[in-house]
């Protein structure tokens, strides 16, 4: 009786086998560079050239585990002082994430839930700002930062990006979908002030967007290179992206150490993402797919 259905189900799952095969193949290709990086970071310079992944020997799994070394990391932290660059990156990325998310939520809320003369005009400004290509602002932006006396300061990096149009746009979308206007109105009837409404009613309702946008900004700042490369001049203020690239100029042949530095730079953001990937991807695709 139920056999035809069963065989159909079985045939369907059999048909998925080549799909799994291809997915596993692409997954391995994707993971190989990570694996190579991880191995290279723990190898001495001689082993870097003599073995592809891990040095072979008679240890567990045919690997000579004893030859692996923490030397690259020791050198990074003691001789190069990479700890300083890590602290700079953590400071810059978290400050930017917090400020930009807060200001974007404020602006997005104003555009989503208030009627006021000039609103359409501001909205046009947001869309206009979205289409300006960043490189166009490199030369005049540098000149402006110079004129403001902000070259070689974090203020020169942070101030221009405290309320990005992209964030305002994303939060406006989120507020329109997730914040019922009646809720705000009844809070007003109850006598709540606008600022209190924003903090106690509006912000909790867009918590997923807050998480996603915190991550988007954190990641963007962490990986930003051209901004600090142009604006920062003192090497003790360099974030990781600029500091690691300098390493290559100064220690170009020390491959193991460069890979260790790269690993140190990408590990924190990768693990952060592993924890929060669902929110992050939902935030990324929210603007594109629903619209």
């Amino acid at each position: 009786m139920s056999t035809p259905a069963l065989t159909l189900a079985r045939r369907k799952s059999l048909m998925l086998i080549p799909v799994y095969g291809m997915l596993v193949f692409f997954a391995i290709i994707t993971l190989i560079p990570f694996a190579w990086l991880l191995c290279a970071a723990f190898k001495s310079n001689t082993d870097f050239f003599s073995s592809l992944f891990l040095p072979t020997g008679d240890g567990f799994l045919g690997v000579d585990w004893g030859r692996l070394t923490l030397g690259n990391f020791k050198k990074l932290f003691t001789e190069i002082g990479i700890g300083n660059a890590i602290m700079n990156s953590v400071f810059l990325a978290s400050t930017m994430a917090l400020i930009a998310t807060f200001c974007s939520a404020l602006g997005g809320y104003a555009l989503a839930k208030f009627r006021f003369p000039g609103r359409d005009w501001v909205l046009a400004l947001v869309f206009g700002a979205l289409v300006i290509p960043g490189p166009l602002l490199l030369a005049p932006g540098y000149k402006l930062i110079y004129q403001l006396g902000l070259l070689d300061t974090y203020a020169g990096l942070i101030l221009p990006a405290i309320a990005p149009a992209f964030g305002i746009f994303l939060f406006r979308q989120a507020m329109m979908n997730a914040v019922p206007t009646t809720l705000i109105e009844s809070a007003r009837i109850d006598g709540a002030g606008e600022i209190r409404i924003f903090f106690t009613i509006v912000l909790p309702l867009v918590r997923p967007m807050i998480g996603a946008y915190l991550m988007i900004t954190f990641l963007g700042t962490w990986n930003n290179f051209i901004g600090p490369q142009i604006i920062m001049q003192s090497s003790d203020l360099f974030p990781l992206s600029v500091a690691i690239n300098q390493l290559r100029g100064l220690y170009g042949v020390d491959y193991g150490m460069i890979m260790a530095g790269t690993l140190v730079s990408i590990a924190p953001v990768l693990s952060l993402f592993l924890l929060l990937q669902k929110e992050f991807i939902a935030g990324l695709t929210a603007g594109a797919v629903k619209g």
Binding site: K143, A163, R188, I266, L284
Partner: protein, 294 residues
């Protein structure tokens, strides 16, 4: 009903003030400056002189700019014609009904896009090394005839950049395609199957029209991103590469503005880039309008 207390009129303006102040100071003002600067020759941020349209005239006959434009366009072709089909293919695989481990695979494919361009540049720079690099060693191990001295970063600059970008962005675009595919109504697919449509016909006539807005959006983003390529070749090749084969428009802008110190000429390059990107966006808009109308 008792009328509730009217909101103070200035509240929305207060909430928008960080945006309005920064957009005026750090976007509108530099834009005006950039317009003015593109008619000047400058030596660093301090001194400048008016040159009229000379920057733009020179730009149009500047062989280095045309080389940069050609390189950048080549890279963009790689993104649109290799990267996007691969992303869509992966998304289609992941969207198969009954598939287990979808979130797991999505996580793996997406992971490279979290790695900053600087770090991808450093990693792939070493992976493309002649003898010790991963790419040549692996290829030599798989195909004995493959020459382990194959000089990726000297002879095959653009393919190297396109490959590195593939690793970085395929999963990123896939996430958008997958989200779009998951919005295709189940009933549509079933109806098409009942009508006897094969997999290709279902894709061509049911799935593709449904996801076309997202496909066109991702294509536009990919084009805009490709034309702003800078960090990847800058780090991977340590500069424009042999014979300027890795020179891109933004790298040329960076070099003229911040190495040579001519911010005026750099601004002219910036406006040229904005013009190119603007025309892509315009074509996309017109196409969308036509689609909606039909």
């Amino acid at each position: 009903m008792k009328p509730y207390r009217a909101e103070p009129k200035w509240i929305p303006w207060l909430f928008l003030s960080p945006f309005l102040v920064t957009i005026t100071v750090f976007l509108a003002w530099p834009l005006v400056q950039s317009m003015l600067m593109s008619f000047q020759q400058t030596y660093g941020p301090k001194t400048s002189s008016w040159v009229g349209f000379a920057n733009f005239k020179f730009l149009l006959s500047d062989p280095l700019f045309w080389k940069a434009l050609r390189n950048t366009a080549l890279f963009a072709c790689g993104s649109v014609f290799i990267q996007l089909p691969l992303s869509l293919g992966l998304a289609l695989l992941l969207n198969r009904p009954g598939l287990r481990g979808r979130a797991f695979f999505r996580l793996i494919f997406f992971a490279p896009s979290l790695v900053g361009l600087v770090f991808v540049g450093l990693l792939f720079g070493l992976m493309f090394e002649k003898r010790s690099g991963l790419v040549n060693t692996l290829l030599h191990a798989m195909f004995a005839s493959f020459n382990p001295e194959f000089a990726w970063l000297q002879e095959y600059v653009m393919p190297s950049l396109i490959i590195a970008a593939l690793w970085l962005y395929v999963g990123f675009n896939m996430v958008y395609f997958l989200a779009a595919l998951q919005n295709v109504p189940e009933e549509l697919m079933e109806a098409a199957s009942l009508d006897g449509a094969g997999p290709w016909q279902r894709f061509r006539h049911v799935v593709l029209p449904e996801i076309l807005p997202v496909v066109s959006f991702v294509t536009l983003l990919s084009l805009l991103g490709s034309f702003q390529l800078f960090e990847l070749p800058f780090i991977l090749l340590g500069g424009p590469g042999p014979d300027n084969r890795g020179l891109t428009i933004v790298m040329y802008l960076y070099q003229t503005g911040f190495v040579t110190g001519d911010l005026g000429y750099a601004s002219a390059i910036g406006w040229m880039l904005a013009f190119i990107l603007g025309s892509f966006a315009l074509v996309h808009r017109l196409w969308l309008k036509k689609e909606e109308a039909s």
